[in-house]
């Protein structure tokens, strides 16, 4: 066997960001596993990235002072440490190019591995004579006003002792070189220990922190597991052990973080007890402290930055607090201490935080993302609403109402703000007054007795027109600038008008007025204010029929292009109406039915605003993309897609595409368990299918499809608008008004832009990934483009995400993951497994997901790129021109939810395997195994978009962990299941599938009817069992492991039969060989032999989590011991097998749970990915000869 030895070359890693430090206000250093990266925050550009070595994990970055090399070049000495290793590096920044971004290079100076204990802090030390005066250096990003180099490094260890190492030489004269070569490990003995001391308290620390930068003045603060913080002087008078000078006692849990204030007069501690405490240590005996609660989980770190405290926590937020040292101590413990809570990271924990002098806070998440926030947004956000409130009193009534006396009761009935300088008021007496807000002068616009005692006022968006709704059902329409004579419409039944909406019409002088009357009816008017003419006309076009029980309309939008009116109601429904074209000839007012009724768009809260946007030619197949946005009083905004409108995307084309790389949530609300997502989408389809007259004429179906809902505030969202192409949201929280920029994820404040994107680095899953699967066999979307590398992943964060892997190509580009889709199908349901399937359309795929509470869903995934896109050629490392990977747009739409079949709702779906049978192109068979020992095969039929139970069996009497299938070349389908008892069962499901297809085809129509009625409503249906086939017992069962089978890979190797390679919780790797005989007449598979032929009980140091075969002779395994191992597999002629280890390496993904591989067409070698907490990618390359 020609077995080329290959090796796994790590090519990409996403894992928690644990360290952040600013070099200056624009360059941010970040540490992620062994990778150190420099990023320009103004442009989000990566300036440089180096790998520190395989067993490195960066915990902290500690900056030293700047060394100026020339006018435009500066160097910065810094060190990074992690676990027991420390490295000294230099960052060289060249700003000589005026047009280009600065260049940044890393230079390794010394690599010091293997210190005797875990490092909790490290500090640069200078000669005391070189440091003029006081130097605050507690925050590493501050630029020290020192020109001389540091001489030594102080290291604080987890066993509460400190060592001071002298640098072997002055670092400044070392020539600035930019070599990417890793230095060999420096011998620890090159670094002289000049001082060493143990604290008198022998204990283990989670955290510690130095203060001051000379050995003489050096202090250490120890955070202990017994809730005390200990302050001690490193360089003390004598004796072997240093005495504790101050004990800070008060916390009720382990200390996780400790920091000094810059002046050393205060210490900040954070703890397991969820509190932050600030200790005033100026008084020698009487130490006082303030306590700050607010984080909802453990707090990891907190620093004192001027007037603020900035803390990060396990609750994934970063909070900003008022610095209690600057306020009256008596006010402390006050809830108003917390000024902001920034929640942008997904899942668990924010790990790193750094603050620039410009007040840009960078946070690094457990999700591998880096977020930027602005401290100045707090200043604006905390401005007290009352301070900005102006009381406006009406002028004396006699000044505008000649007949009035001072005794007449007069007050404002309603008002609108028409421009920045002007507002309009309707009064109880029936006046409409205009106020010039600059000059504070009043003028009368109109008077009518119709407006007496009641009016509901609204203005057009342009502010030129004000419409008042009357008690009598009439509308009073006035021009603020007197462009036309005031107009009063007919009475129309005399019903009080409660709300008026003045919507833009076809042009500047055309408007649609929508009124909501007290009897819950809605009227639509067409208002024309032709230029120059002194009269305006207003025609009642039609009435709109609301669904029964509708309470009130709170939002309206008119689309002149499609002649549609959209309404949003108080009971969370969005309605669409198609207006009739010509209305002049129609005598009687018609009442139109809605063509769309989409319920529960904002939980059960009011829809507060609605907006429609058409992007021409941006949709699938060059059609227009029509999006709808709504805001709600549930604090979220929802995005929808309109399908089937003239010129727009249709239902047949790729259904939904969403190219935004943003947090999107589906039903991520406070709703109870089974959010009606699915029924919401379905009801849209439903309504669409029975849509109105003119649709039937044009033969198209109009659908409003909810794409996602994203909750951004605990208060209300009131308005959505688009300004300069960016989506802005206006809302209220805590009696304060805010405007939120959705695309940048922060509140709008005055001031220049300091950074382009609030997301400096895209995030991955915030919690453990349980399964990831590459989309094998994807097609390039346009000719000449490389095959896109797409994978789907899901896990403990209950999210379904789809990413595109964009490989490293040139010297200056970085391998990247682009997030294409981020959905939360339901709250509290872990996604355990997912599998792709294929449709006849090369740009549309199906994805099946399974997980907790027995949930299984089918998704349609469609891909597109902008129609204007042309393939770009770029130069690769070796100078060849190659086509660039283009980020795709991708839409993911839920097609169906599988009915449940277990007695127990807590049952988890543990694994899936999906296949299609020849001759049934639209039928997808999904084999699923359950935690209650059930084994089921479901049919997902594309024709009716629903699941039908095909085979139901139970075996193992244990939680089943793995399922796999094999379609044999000669015929028949084998299924493999494996459980926590270590056994692998082999099933012949050919006959059961045949029998099912016989009964199913006869009943397909009935099934489709049943499914369509089943998909509406909040209750998940129980599975129908009309077609279900029993399975009996497995053909054979093999005992391969002592306990759970976590990885199973089955391959048909032709004449050599079938090979099943499995990895277990028992650390063992096992090979089972199976021989089968196909009986074409009976259509059965007979298993002639099945035997576990090889077992390596010590394959890994811990449980094997996943096994894949990258070809017939090479196997890759990964384990809880955080290694990836490649094995050679030899199938022996006597029916046995042998495996030998080819290579093993450490991986940077803790808790690895899943592994997959994809063959990349453009390359000769496969790509392997392992995911757990984060993900790491490997190119399997031929080894260097």
């Amino acid at each position: 066997m020609d077995n080329v030895h290959r090796r796994a070359q790590p090519v990409h890693l996403t894992t928690p960001v644990t360290a952040l430090a600013y070099h200056d206000n624009d360059i941010l250093l970040s540490g992620q596993g062994p990778y150190l990266k420099a990023t320009l925050i103004s442009t989000a550009e990566t300036l440089g990235c180096i790998h520190l070595g395989q067993d490195w994990k960066i915990h902290q970055i500690v900056m030293a002072n700047v060394q100026r090399i020339s006018e435009s070049i500066e160097a910065r000495l810094f060190m990074v440490y992690g676990a027991k290793s420390l490295r000294v590096l230099r960052l060289c920044v060249d700003r000589s190019s005026e047009s280009d971004s600065p260049s940044a290079q890393f230079q390794h100076l010394w690599n010091i591995p293997h210190f005797k204990d875990w490092i909790v802090d490290a500090q640069w030390l200078w000669n005391k004579a070189d440091l003029p005066g006081e130097h605050p250096t507690t925050r590493p990003n501050l630029r020290l006003p020192v020109t001389t180099p540091p001489t030594s490094i102080a290291i604080g260890y987890a066993h509460n002792f400190v060592e001071v190492y002298q640098l072997p030489q002055d670092p400044f004269p070392i020539p600035v070189e930019t070599t990417h070569k890793l230095p060999t490990d420096d011998n620890l003995s090159n670094f002289l220990i000049v001082y060493s001391v143990q604290s008198e308290e022998h204990c283990t620390l989670f955290c510690g922190r130095f203060h001051n930068n000379t050995l003489e003045d050096l202090w250490f603060a120890s955070g202990t597991v017994f809730c005390h913080a200990l302050l001690w002087k490193v360089y003390h008078g004598g004796g072997v052990e240093a005495p504790v000078v101050k004990s800070l006692i008060g916390h009720e849990g382990i200390l996780f973080g400790i920091r000094w204030s810059d002046d050393g007069k205060a210490v900040c501690t954070v703890s397991d007890d969820r509190s932050i405490r600030i200790w005033d240590i100026t008084h020698p005996i009487n130490i006082t402290h303030t306590t700050h609660f607010g984080h909802t989980a453990r707090v990891w770190d907190c620093q004192i930055v001027g007037p603020y405290l900035i803390s990060i926590s396990e609750d994934a937020s970063c909070r900003v607090w008022r610095n209690p040292l600057l306020t009256n101590a008596a006010e402390a413990d006050d809830a108003s201490d917390c000024l902001a809570c920034w929640e942008g990271h997904e899942g668990k924990s924010t790990w790193g935080v750094a603050v620039s002098d410009h007040g840009v806070v960078a946070t690094g998440g457990g999700d591998g993302g880096i977020h930027l926030w602005r401290l100045d947004s707090i200043v604006a956000g905390t401005t007290d609403a009352e301070q900005n409130t102006k009381d406006i009193d009406l002028p004396a009534i006699t000044t505008y109402f000649p007949d009035a006396t001072d005794n007449d009761k007069e007050f404002v009935r309603d008002f609108v703000i028409t421009s920045q300088e002007q507002s309009v008021y309707s009064t109880n007496a029936g006046y409409i007054l205009v106020r010039d807000d600059e000059k504070e002068t009043w003028s009368t616009l109109f008077y009518s007795s119709l407006l007496k005692n009641y009016s509901s006022l609204e203005s057009s968006i342009c502010g030129r027109i004000v419409v008042a709704g009357c008690l009598s059902g009439r509308l009073v329409i006035v021009s603020v600038a007197n462009e036309f004579e005031p107009l009063i419409t007919e009475t129309l039944g005399g019903i009080k008008i409660q709300f008026v909406f003045v919507l833009n019409g076809t042009d500047r002088d055309n408007f649609r007025i929508v009124v909501f009357r007290a009897n819950c009816t809605v009227g639509v008017f067409n208002l024309n204010t032709a230029v120059g003419s002194a009269t305006a006309t207003c025609t009642h076009i039609c009435d709109l029929k609301l669904p029964n029980n509708n309470k009130a309309i709170h939002a309206a939008y008119f689309s002149p292009r499609y002649n549609l009116v959209l309404l949003g109601s108080r009971d969370s429904t969005v309605l669409a109406y198609k207006l009739l074209r010509s209305n002049a000839d129609i005598e009687a007012i018609t009442t139109l039915d809605s063509i769309i009724e989409l319920k529960r768009c904002h939980g059960s809260e009011t829809v507060s605003s609605i907006l429609m946007v058409t992007e021409e030619g941006e949709g699938v197949g060059g059609k227009d993309r029509i999006s709808v946005y709504s805001t709600g009083r549930d604090g979220s905004w929802t995005k929808y897609r309109f399908l089937g409108l003239p010129g727009g995307e249709t239902i047949g084309s790729t259904s939904s595409a969403d190219d935004e790389d943003e947090d999107v949530d589906m039903g991520d609300s406070d709703d109870d368990g089974y959010d009606a997502n699915e029924s919401r989408d379905k009801s849209a389809l439903q309504r669409g299918e029975e849509s109105s007259l003119d649709d039937r004429e044009s033969g198209t179906t109009i659908v409003l499809q909810k794409i996602f809902r994203s909750k951004i505030t605990r208060g209300w969202l009131e308005q959505v608008f688009i300004m300069d192409g960016e989506l802005l949201l206006l809302g209220f929280f805590n009696k304060k008004l805010f405007v939120y920029n959705e695309s940048k994820h922060f509140e709008l404040t005055a001031g220049s832009e300091l950074f382009k994107s609030a997301k400096l680095q895209t995030n991955f899953h915030g919690r453990e990934v349980r399964q990831m699967r590459f989309l094998n066999g994807a097609q390039p979307l346009i000719e000449g483009a490389p095959t896109p590398i797409i994978f789907a992943s899901g896990g403990e964060d209950c999210r379904l995400r789809i990413f595109q892997y964009i490989p490293y190509k040139t010297k200056n580009s970085c391998t990247a993951l682009k997030s294409l889709c981020n959905l939360k199908p339901s709250v509290g349901s872990t996604l355990r497994c997912l599998e792709w399937s294929y449709t006849s359309d090369s740009q549309t795929y199906l994805l099946f997901t399974g997980g907790a509470v027995e949930s299984m869903r089918a998704w349609q995934v469609g891909m597109s790129i902008p129609n204007s896109y042309q393939v770009q050629l770029i130069e690769d490392q070796s100078g060849n021109m190659i086509p660039e990977h283009t980020p795709l747009s991708l839409g993911c739409l839920e097609l169906a939810q599988c009915p449940h079949a277990s007695e127990n709702m807590e049952t988890r779906i543990m694994d899936l395997s999906v296949f299609k049978l020849d001759g049934h192109p639209r039928k997808h068979f999904v084999a699923a195994v359950y935690s209650d020992a059930a084994i089921r095969v479901w049919l997902f039929d594309e024709a009716v978009n629903s699941f039908v139970l095909a085979i139901d069996a139970s075996h193992h009497a244990k939680c089943i962990l793995q399922v796999s299938h094999l379609k044999l070349e000669e015929g028949g389908v084998l299924m493999f299941t494996a459980a926590t008892d270590g056994k692998i069962a082999v099933w012949d499901i050919t006959g059961a599938l045949d029998r099912f297809l016989e009964v199913y085809s006869m009943d397909a129509i009935k099934a489709s009817q049943a499914s369509s009625s089943s998909s509406v409503g909040r209750e998940r249906k129980r599975a129908r069992r009309d077609h279900v086939q029993a399975l009996g017992t497995p053909a054979v069962e093999v005992s391969a492991h002592m306990s759970g089978v976590n990885g199973l890979f089955v391959q048909d190797i032709g004449v050599d039969g079938i090979v099943a390679v499995s990895g277990g919780d028992d650390n063992a790797l096992s090979v089972t060989r199976i021989k089968t005989v196909w009986d074409a007449k009976l259509r059965t598979i007979k298993v002639s032999s099945a035997k576990a032929v090889y077992r390596n009980a010590y394959a890994h140091g811990s449980a094997i989590q996943a096994v894949i075969m990258i070809n017939n002779s090479e196997v890759v395994t990964t384990s809880q011991d955080q290694t990836l191992t490649m094995w050679g597999l030899n199938l022996l002629e006597d029916g046995g097998a042998d495996m030998h280890m080819l290579e093993t390496q450490f991986i940077h993904v803790p808790d690895p749970s899943t592994m997959d591989t994809i063959a990349i067409r453009e390359k000769q070698h496969p790509l392997v990915a392992i995911a757990g907490i984060g993900a790491q990618f490997f190119d399997i390359e031929p080894a260097q000869q």
Binding site: D273, F293, C338, M905, D981, D1066, S1102
Partner: protein, 295 residues
């Protein structure tokens, strides 16, 4: 999600409540004991990191059975947290990494030695895996250190371990003191859990070894990048009856189909203290609702 959902998801959780154990982990020690017969004839035991006390409960039950006429059973249970009292168990609140705690344990044995030392302790897991593994290793080494003070030669040591990346280094160190080291996974421990139990038998300290709490014992060597070529191999044994309950399996409740009638038992012993109690108290008073700032 109903109140009984955890009962449905976890059969051992339900059984622990039914049988009066303070935690489901009681089954883990019993299953390890079934496999290794560790508690046979044992009368003196130390339970390190004992709270909430389920292992002490198991020890107490077994050791009272073993009690001979002149030799009374003695169990010393130590934990950082306070623990509700258990009859016949001497309780000690302290940090096992500190010398004073070791001295106190030793003092209870009046110069005698323990037959077995067990440790079901796990540190506060932060989520930073290498940090967590380091701290867990420190805890295990502290437990081992105390063990070298109090265990009689030939005695055994059982401790919870996380089977993470540095596990083989821990094996190496345990092998210095125990010729027989086995990694064991009881069936009551979930397949999905990284935990396992290290069973160390026949305590044989190296010649001239003097127990000393002063310096941290046997610190870990760094991870060998090339990994597994000459790592210490420790056999793995899955213990507990294969036909018994599976901790990963979802079982129907006893009177399934009629879930409304199912009576959910309260835990046998609620934790009596936790670091987050003050925070919880504030939460109950509505502090967090008012205080959560924007978004």
């Amino acid at each position: 999600m109903g109140k009984s959902s955890k009962d449905k998801r976890d059969v051992y959780y339900r059984m622990a409540k039914e049988q009066g154990w303070r935690a489901r982990s009681a089954f883990k020690l019993m299953q390890v004991d079934e496999e290794f017969n560790l508690l046979e004839g044992v009368t003196k035991a130390v339970d390190l990191c004992a709270a909430p006390g389920s292992w002490s409960q198991v020890l107490s039950k077994k050791l009272v059975e073993n009690q001979k006429e002149r030799e009374e059973a003695k169990i010393v249970a130590v934990d950082l947290q306070a623990m509700a009292p258990l009859p016949g168990v001497i309780q000690l609140q302290g940090d096992i990494t500190k010398q004073s705690t070791a001295d106190q344990i030793i003092s209870y044995f009046d110069g005698e030695m323990a037959d077995i030392v067990v440790c079901d302790g796990a540190p506060d897991v932060t989520g930073l895996h290498d940090m967590d593994e380091y701290i867990q290793a420190q805890l295990l080494l502290a437990a081992l250190n105390i063990t070298t003070h109090v265990l009689r030669p030939g005695g055994s040591f059982v401790a919870k371990i996380f089977r993470g990346k540095d596990i083989t280094l821990l094996y190496t160190q345990l092998k210095v003191f125990f010729p027989k080291v086995t990694c064991s996974k009881p069936r009551s421990s979930r397949n999905s859990s990284i935990e396992a139990f290290i069973v160390c038998q026949d305590y044989t300290p190296p010649k001239d070894y003097v127990p000393n709490m002063g310096n941290p014992l046997l610190d870990l060597a760094p991870t060998d990048a090339q990994g597994n070529s000459n790592r210490t191999i420790v056999p793995f044994i899955a213990c507990g009856d294969l036909s018994g309950f599976d901790s990963d399996m979802t079982y129907a409740l006893p009177d399934s189909g009629n879930n409304e009638d199912y009576k959910v038992l309260d835990p046998v012993q609620m934790p009596i203290t936790a670091p987050y109690l003050s925070a919880m108290e504030k939460k109950r008073k509505g502090f967090f609702n008012e205080q959560m700032s924007k978004k």
